[in-house]
Each structure stands twice: as structure tokens, then as C-alpha cells.
């Protein structure tokens, strides 16, 4: 075992000694494995310089929020909804750290919705993983802010009447500079998406379709099950026309600000939208994000939006440097004497 623990290119190095306590069959296991494998992979690349001591996972409350306990890095399991705020403070104080924020749909979009949008609009260097299972799991099955209208749960015996959030629409609306979607059944896709977020400077948010096999089993089956994927998952590839379907027969067309699913046979390939994650106009990514508004329709995966913007903790630091230049290094005695003073002999 010891060699695994000492070798950062092995998954075991990134695995803490704590027993994982998610329900057997929970989608969270797959996400955790993807993260551990990703770090093992990143450790092989001298350029990424990942180190367990420089990596921090901050979470709120909920099933997903147990995540930090299982990574052999620094971690904090904090308060329901507050992880983006706590991580923001950590990122400002310690811009040298590699910080991930982990939470579920209730944690991030309900009680913590305010912190999430502000972390995104400030573009703090945080990688935010939103485990979306469309249910409250830890409190045993109430509807969540991403649950579909009509959902019958313990707290909605007659069906939910709340319109759900489109999480990536929220993120794009908040000005997020990196917005992506992946799902818990595809480790490679998760790793690739996490890796892209890791390389991004600024705030990134990744929605992960995650199955809660106890309280909302199969919520994404119609989309992410192996036999459904070809027709239901729209793989976004930067610079390529957006095409999907078993026969690559369908695509996305932008029409009057709307993203529409079209048959290529009807419109021709040239009419399809070419995916451009770096497009400065967020309306396009927003339109594509709207394709995920129900569980039965083809849904985009991959990086919807990735643009450059000033990173928050860097901006904080540059003000510190500027102040130092303009005012000179802080001198406490000088500060105390900076007002009108008088001497008494």
C-alpha cells in the first residue's frame, strides 16, 4: 500500500483513509473516482504541478458535501449553502491554492444560491462542482430547486408547483466564465471536463447529472443511459457544428436567439451552429443551456461557455501592490500619527 500512498500518479495517493459513506450505488462514487483519477493524471504532468497540500475541497451540507472527507487533500465540510462564500475568502487570502467547491442542487441553488451567483460574477478562482440529482437526499427525499414541476415527494404529495432552475442558465446569467455539464456515468467525460475547469483561470461551474438511486433513481436515465446517449446527449465540441444522433442526423441551429434541434436533412449542415464556447455573447450559451429544460429532450454536454475575464483574487492582490507602491509599505507608527496630533510635555 505504501507505494500507492507515496505516488501521486496513483489514485490511492489522493484517497483519504476515511470509509466512504454514500449509499451503495450512489452516483457520487463515480464522481469521486473521476476526481481521484484526474489528480493522479495531473500529477504525471509536470506542468500542472498539482500537490495534495496545495489542493483544497470546500463543501456545504448534503450528500455531495461529504466529498472532501474522501480526498487526501486539505478540506472543509462547512455549512449548508455557504461553501462558495467560504471558498471565496480562502481564495482571496490564498491565491496560490487549487480550490474546488462541491455541493448539490439544494446546497448550491436553494440555500446557497446567493453565494453561488456572486462567486461566479466575481470570477473567483474556484472550481465549482454542482451535483445535480434533482432531489434532497440527505434529508430523505424532498423536492429540490431543480426538480421538475409535478414531482411527487414527501413534501409535495400533490406534486411540486415550483418551476425549476436551469442551473447552467443561472450560471451564465450570473456571468460565469466557465460553464460545463457532465454526468456521473462517464468517467472519461467527467475527467476531461474537470481538467478543462482546472486549467481555467477564474470561476468555473460544472453541473454533473448525478443519480440518487434511493430517492430519485433514474432521473437522467432517458438521457445518460448507455443506449440513450447517442440520441439524447449533445456533445459540444469547440469549433465544430453541433451534431448528434446515432446517425449524426440531427443538430442545433440558432434561430432568432433560440437554440433549436433540427434534422440535418431538413436544413443542411451549413445551417447548424458552430460551437464557440469563447463567444463573448453569453446569449448563445444561454440559448444552448435552455435545451436542458426537461428530462426527455436531447441535452448538451461539455463546455458551454469559456471566456477570459479578470480573476478576483489577482485583482485584490494587484490593488495591494498598487497601494504599496503609492503609499509605501505600511508603517503602524505613521498610521497612528496620520491625523492631527498635538504634543503634551
Amino acid at each position: 500500500m505504501t507505494d500507492v500512498i507515496l505516488d501521486p500518479t496513483k489514485r490511492g495517493y489522493w484517497t483519504s483513509d476515511q470509509d466512504v459513506r454514500w449509499c451503495p450505488g450512489c452516483g457520487d462514487y463515480g464522481i469521486l473516482a473521476a476526481m481521484q483519477f484526474l489528480y493522479a493524471e495531473l500529477a504525471e504532468d509536470p506542468e500542472t504541478e498539482v500537490k495534495s497540500e496545495d489542493t483544497v475541497f470546500v463543501s456545504g451540507i448534503g450528500c455531495a458535501a461529504r466529498f472532501p472527507y474522501y480526498m487526501d487533500t486539505y478540506g472543509m465540510h462547512s455549512i449548508h449553502g455557504r461553501s462558495p462564500a467560504i471558498a471565496t475568502g480562502l481564495a482571496i487570502a490564498r491565491p496560490d491554492l487549487d480550490i474546488w467547491v462541491v455541493g448539490g442542487d439544494g446546497d448550491m441553488l436553494s440555500i446557497g444560491g446567493n453565494h453561488l451567483i456572486h462567486a461566479l460574477r466575481r470570477n473567483v478562482n474556484l472550481k465549482i462542482l454542482l451535483f445535480n440529482n434533482q432531489i434532497y437526499g440527505l434529508t430523505k427525499g424532498q423536492y429540490s430547486p431543480t426538480s421538475e414541476v409535478g414531482k411527487v415527494t414527501k413534501s409535495t404529495p400533490m406534486g411540486s408547483i415550483d418551476a425549476p432552475f436551469n442551473p447552467l442558465g443561472v450560471a451564465i446569467g450570473a456571468g460565469a466564465t466557465f460553464v460545463a455539464r457532465t454526468h456521473d456515468l462517464d468517467r472519461k467525460h467527467m475527467m476531461a471536463t474537470f481538467k478543462a475547469a482546472h486549467a481555467h483561470k477564474g470561476a468555473s461551474i460544472i453541473e454533473i447529472y448525478q443519480n440518487c438511486n434511493v430517492f430519485n433513481d433514474g432521473a437522467f436515465d432517458a438521457i445518460t443511459k448507455r443506449d440513450a446517449r447517442a440520441e439524447m446527449m449533445i456533445d459540444l465540441v469547440d469549433g465544430e457544428p453541433i451534431i448528434f444522433g446515432a446517425e449524426e442526423q440531427r443538430g442545433i441551429m440558432l434561430d432568432g436567439g433560440q437554440a433549436k434541434i433540427v434534422e440535418i436533412a431538413d436544413v443542411g449542415r451549413d445551417a447548424l451552429a458552430v460551437h464557440d464556447a469563447a463567444n463573448p455573447n453569453p446569449a448563445i450559451a444561454f440559448a444552448i443551456a435552455q435545451l436542458a429544460n426537461d428530462r426527455q429532450s436531447p441535452t448538451p454536454f461539455g463546455v458551454l461557455r469559456q471566456v477570459e475575464g479578470p480573476e478576483y483574487s489577482e485583482a485584490v492582490n494587484s490593488q495591494l501592490l498598487a497601494a504599496n507602491e503609492q503609499q509605501g509599505p505600511g508603517d503602524l507608527a505613521k498610521l497612528l500619527h496620520s491625523g492631527a496630533t498635538w504634543d503634551v510635555a
Binding site: G75, A85, L320, A322, L332, G339, T341, W342, V344
Partner: protein, 624 residues
């Protein structure tokens, strides 16, 4: 006309209480502040009480819009802004109506008579002109057409009438400076610097100031000019300081003395925002200020920064503390250092945002769920905020705990002369981060256990970036030592006891309570926070009238000084004046089984000494 040169010899007086009052837009806070500054430079002792409405601009001329600034200046040591003003400057009828009741009988009133037109009288509800209907018969009244004289003073400037009128507060200030023989230079210098971007404003304010001064000197309206000698003060260099500035500087000093970068997460709230403003100006000290999206994010960001190894603060007032409770509890559970500064104001709810109160003590002590002992300290004067900010930081860092520092609106905005400390004498409050494993795992490998404790029961502060000390902490109960999640009943009992014992142990690391004692006293006044000045003045007044009174002032409210119980048990009467309905008094009764009695005031204002004297007389039957 009498020749002014030989007309007046300034009459020496020991002290005066002046109250400037006007409309919110009249610049009364600025006027009071400038007069205070000139008096401070003249070496007087002084205490101020700014009072302003919560509305930025209430309807002009109404009672709701009255803003006042009271300053007590003297040639001796004083501790309160004065029970009753000797002089009232009223810039309009609303100010007169609102403030007249406070004025000492026979006191002096200076009116801007130009503002006493029918409309303004009506706005505040005067049915007849108070200047002529006998209302002011018991006072010495000076009617000065300040608006008109100000306009005349600035006629040569190219300035609109409306703008020119705005300089009338400087006219009033000039006049008061003449009355109390204050030099104009400090104010002129300040005006030149403050309004440097607009020379016309500099000129208008300077001319108005000089005109007010000249008016005092050349008219016969004022029979007397007064001089207040400088107060005997300990040798040193002084500055006039408000509590909020002192708090901010104390935070900066704590960062220097701890050799740690400072992080402030804050959300704007009256009356605490000035701390955020002040700290934001000093980024050259390595201070990072973060204006968060809400109070919860403010304290959350501070906790995150603390995890990262910063000296972390959040500043707020009562409503903010209520929101921060859960995060303070998390900091208590994770045992990370953080200082929460509560500039108390009137409550409950929005309450009286701009008025003072000390009613958050119970919230500071108990306002979290679960058994979550948290140290609480309180500042007693504006300059003491500096020391207590350092002390709160010291306790937080050393014991890895959130600490709540209580100040209040009166301390925050009030000011006093401060004998500046020699920075080389400030305490070293630095602590060590953990750098090495402190345990071995089952296989004999070195490992790190975040909840191993040292001799004061503090756990190691291991910050991210330290190789080999990777660990996870959180709000779930942790196993003693290893810090792994634990639901074991025995362990929860043990951890609860350990957290309590750690905080209780701080009692051995704080100053003992000191009694300001005189012979034969059977009465002990016990105070905390900003009531200090009023209580000191009360004790002095009672002693002067032959009643021996002792007093104790508590700066550390959790844990309390270990000798406090014995002190209190030795008195026949323990009297606790508080700006709440009796919070410390309940704690003293519970902790020490002493029959402590409460004197309360919950009116958004500090105690006057007379109010406390009267209460003591009633309670004890003594007659002072």
C-alpha cells in the same frame, strides 16, 4: 461701537457642553467634528456624542431630519459628553424644538434666525414663533442672521445662492470658535485640504468661517468670550480618535503584531461600515478587505481566510451578528481563529440604526445553537477599541477560537483625545502554524491529527500548503485527536467538555478585575462597554458629595475575570448600569449568587451621570 481690542478679556471657564443642531443637510456633524478637532489641538480633554437620523436626508426642516453633535470640552479629565448642554446652536426651528428640552436651564441659544420663517415654523409644528412668545424666556438667546451674513461674506465669489447658503455651518463654527477662543487655522487648513478639488468651495467655506468669527468679535451681541485652558494630560503625542477608527487601527496593529496578513469580510451596516471604509484605505499593510454579498458571506469568507492562515475579521452590528451565528458556531466547532466585531445599535430588528445600545451581550454570549462557548470582550472608550481589537485577536489566535468584540454606536462615532501608544510596546501576539506531523498511524507512519491539543487545549493551526498535514475539518462532531467524523456519544461529551474547558481556561490569561476603590464604600458600580465614562463620572460625583462609591469595569465578559466573584461579594450594594434591560446583571447573579441590581436605559442614548446618581440614591437610600 466699543473697540473690540479692549472690550473683551476672555473669561476663563473649566468646561462647556456645546450642542450643534440643524437639518441633516446643514453639516452639523462636520461642524461639531471640526470644533472638536480645534479643541483637541488646544489641549482640552473632550468627549463627543454625535446623533443623527437613520434617514440620509429626511424632509428638510422637519423634526425627523434634525442632526446634532454634542461635545464636552474641559480643562480637566472628563468621561462623558455632558449631562446637559450649556450652549445650543440651532440652525432652524426644528432643531430648536427637538433640542431645547436638553438644554440647561439658563443656557445659551444661538439661532440662525433666517431659518425662522413661517414655513419652517409650521414644518416642525410651532404654532407661534418661539422667539417672541416666551418659550425662550429662561435662556440667553442670540439671534444671528447666519444665512444672510454668509451670503454677504461670499458675494465676491462666483457662486450660486443655493450653494453659498451651504457654507452657513462654517459661519456658525467661526462664531463658536470666537466665543471659545479657538484658532481658525486648523479648520482653514482642513477646509483647504478637504475641498482641494473645488477652490470655490474652499473660498466660500473659509470666508464664511472668518465672517462668523468676525461677527462675534465686532458685534456687541456677545458680552463674553470664554477660554478653556488645556487639560493636564500625561506627556505624549495625542490625536483625536473615534471608536471605529481605533478599531480599524487596532486590527491593523494586530496583524502587525501577529505577523499575519489581515482579511476583513464585511457587509455594509450602520454603525459599523466606517471600519470597513478605514481598513480599505490601508491595503499597503497587506490588508485584504472583501465587501461580501451578505452578512453570512462576510463571516464565511473570513472563516475561509482563517483556514488559509489569515488573521480574519468580520465587522457588523446586531442584525448582522444574528445572521452570522451559524458560521460562528462552525468556527467554534472547527476551532479556527476569527474576530467578530459587533458595533451594537438599538434593537430588536432594524431598531435604531444610528443610535447606541448595549443589548447584544446575551446574543454574543449565547446566540448560537448547541453548546458553543465563545469568548466575548468589550471596549469601554473610543481609544480603548484599539486595545480591545488587539486583545480579541490575541485570544482568537492563541486559542484558535472565534472571539466577539463588542463596541457600540456611541463609541464608534464618539471621539476622545488618545495618547498614542509607542508601537514598540504593543504585545507580540504571533502564533506558530503547525509544520510537522504530530502522530503516527496504525502502520507507524507519521501523520497529522488536527484535534490533538496543547497545554491550553488549543489545537494546531495547519494551513493548506503545508506538506504532510493534509486534513479535513467540518461542522460534524470530530473524534478527539484524529478529528475524524465521530458520532460516538462519549466522544461528543468529551469534545463538548474540551471546548468549554478551553474557553474557561482563558480566565487565567486575562487581566484581573481592578477595583477603583475609596475608603468605606458599601456600593460597587459594575459596568461593561461604553457606560464606563458615565459610571466614572457618577462615582466622581458621588464621592465629591461625600458618598464613597467603588467601581469595577469589565472588559472580558467571557470568561469573566477570576477574581470578580470575590470582589462583588464584599459589597452591600452591587449596582450594574447597562444600556439594555439588564443582561450583565443576570450573568453576575447567576455566576456569583450576588444580589446585583440593575440600572437600565434603552433610549438609544448613553447614560448621563445624573441618571445613574439618581438611580443609586433610590436603590441604596443614600443621598448624594
Amino acid at each position: 461701537m466699543t473697540d473690540t481690542a479692549d472690550r473683551l478679556e476672555a473669561q476663563g471657564i473649566n468646561a462647556v457642553v456645546i450642542r450643534f443642531a440643524g437639518d441633516s443637510g446643514d453639516g452639523m456633524q462636520l461642524t461639531g467634528d471640526r470644533f472638536t478637532s480645534a479643541s483637541a489641538l488646544a489641549g482640552n480633554d473632550l468627549v463627543t456624542l454625535p446623533e443623527f437620523p437613520a434617514e440620509i436626508r429626511a424632509p428638510q426642516g422637519t423634526l425627523a431630519g434634525v442632526s446634532a453633535f454634542q461635545v464636552h470640552i474641559s480643562d480637566h479629565d472628563i468621561h462623558t459628553p455632558g449631562d446637559e448642554p450649556d450652549v445650543l446652536i440651532a440652525m432652524n426651528p426644528a432643531a430648536l424644538m427637538s433640542e431645547l428640552g436638553r438644554l440647561k436651564s439658563g443656557g445659551t441659544i444661538i439661532l440662525n434666525t433666517d431659518a425662522f420663517d413661517e414655513r419652517n415654523l409650521e414644518k416642525c409644528g410651532y404654532e407661534a414663533d418661539p422667539r417672541t412668545n416666551g418659550t425662550l424666556d429662561d435662556y440667553i438667546v442670540h439671534e444671528v442672521p447666519m444665512t444672510k451674513l454668509t451670503l454677504e461674506a461670499v458675494t465676491d465669489l462666483d457662486v450660486k445662492k443655493r450653494d453659498a447658503e451651504r457654507s452657513k455651518n462654517f459661519f456658525a463654527l467661526g462664531l463658536i470658535c470666537w466665543m471659545y477662543t479657538r484658532p481658525l487655522e486648523p479648520t482653514l487648513d482642513w477646509v483647504a485640504e478637504k475641498f482641494a478639488k473645488n477652490q470655490t468651495v474652499v473660498d466660500a467655506n473659509s470666508l464664511a468661517l472668518k465672517a462668523g468669527h468676525a461677527f462675534g468679535e465686532t458685534t456687541e451681541m456677545f458680552a463674553d468670550q470664554f477660554a478653556i485652558e488645556s487639560a493636564p494630560q500625561e506627556a505624549g503625542t495625542y490625536t483625536n480618535i473615534t471608536g471605529n477608527t481605533a478599531t480599524a487601527w487596532g486590527m491593523i496593529a494586530a496583524g502587525q503584531q501577529a505577523k499575519l496578513p489581515i482579511f476583513l469580510g464585511s457587509y455594509p451596516i450602520t454603525p459599523a461600515s466606517d471600519i470597513l471604509h478605514e481598513l480599505s484605505r490601508h491595503k499597503n499593510f497587506g490588508v485584504k478587505t472583501f465587501q461580501a454579498e451578505d452578512e453570512i458571506a462576510a463571516v464565511g469568507s473570513a472563516l475561509g481566510a482563517a483556514f488559509g492562515g489569515a488573521l480574519a475579521y468580520t465587522t457588523t452590528s446586531g442584525p448582522g451578528v444574528a445572521l452570522k451565528g451559524e458560521t460562528i458556531g462552525l468556527a467554534t466547532s472547527m476551532e479556527l481563529p476569527m474576530v467578530i466585531i459587533d458595533v451594537q445599535r438599538g434593537g430588536p430588528s432594524t431598531g435604531l440604526p444610528t443610535k447606541t445600545e448595549a443589548s447584544d451581550l446575551f446574543m454574543a454570549l449565547y446566540g448560537r445553537h448547541g453548546e458553543s462557548p465563545t469568548p466575548v470582550v468589550a471596549a469601554y472608550s473610543p481609544s480603548n477599541c484599539f486595545d480591545m481589537a488587539i486583545e480579541a485577536s490575541r485570544i482568537a489566535l492563541k486559542y484558535r477560537t472565534p472571539v466577539i468584540l463588542l463596541t457600540d454606536g456611541y463609541l464608534a462615532n464618539g471621539s476622545e483625545p488618545w495618547n498614542l501608544p509607542d508601537v514598540s510596546t504593543l504585545p507580540d501576539i504571533s502564533v506558530e502554524f503547525a509544520t510537522e506531523p504530530n502522530a503516527t498511524d496504525g502502520a507507524g507512519n507519521p501523520t497529522f491529527e488536527p484535534f490533538q491539543r496543547d497545554d491550553i487545549l488549543a489545537r494546531p493551526w495547519a494551513v493548506p500548503g503545508t506538506p504532510g498535514l493534509e486534513h479535513r475539518i467540518g461542522g460534524l462532531e470530530k473524534a478527539d485527536g484524529s478529528g475524524n467524523v465521530s458520532y460516538d456519544p462519549e466522544n461528543h461529551g468529551l469534545m463538548t467538555d474540551l471546548r468549554q474547558a478551553k474557553i474557561d481556561g482563558i480566565a487565567d490569561d486575562i487581566p484581573l478585575a481592578e477595583v477603583d476603590a475609596v475608603d468605606g464604600s458599601k456600593i460597587c458600580l459594575v459596568g461593561w462597554g461604553s457606560t464606563w465614562g458615565s459610571i466614572v463620572a457618577t462615582a466622581e460625583r458621588m464621592r465629591e458629595s461625600g458618598v464613597p462609591v467603588d467601581r469595577v469595569h469589565i472588559t472580558h465578559l467571557n470568561p469573566l475575570p477570576p477574581n470578580l466573584g470575590d470582589i462583588l461579594k464584599s459589597y452591600e450594594h452591587v449596582i450594574v448600569p447597562e444600556l439594555n434591560k439588564g443582561q450583565l446583571v443576570r450573568i453576575l447573579r447567576a455566576e456569583y449568587l450576588v444580589d446585583a441590581q440593575s440600572v437600565n436605559k434603552v433610549k438609544g442614548l448613553p447614560f448621563t451621570a445624573s441618571e445613574i446618581v439618581e438611580a443609586i440614591n433610590t436603590m441604596t437610600g443614600v443621598q448624594a
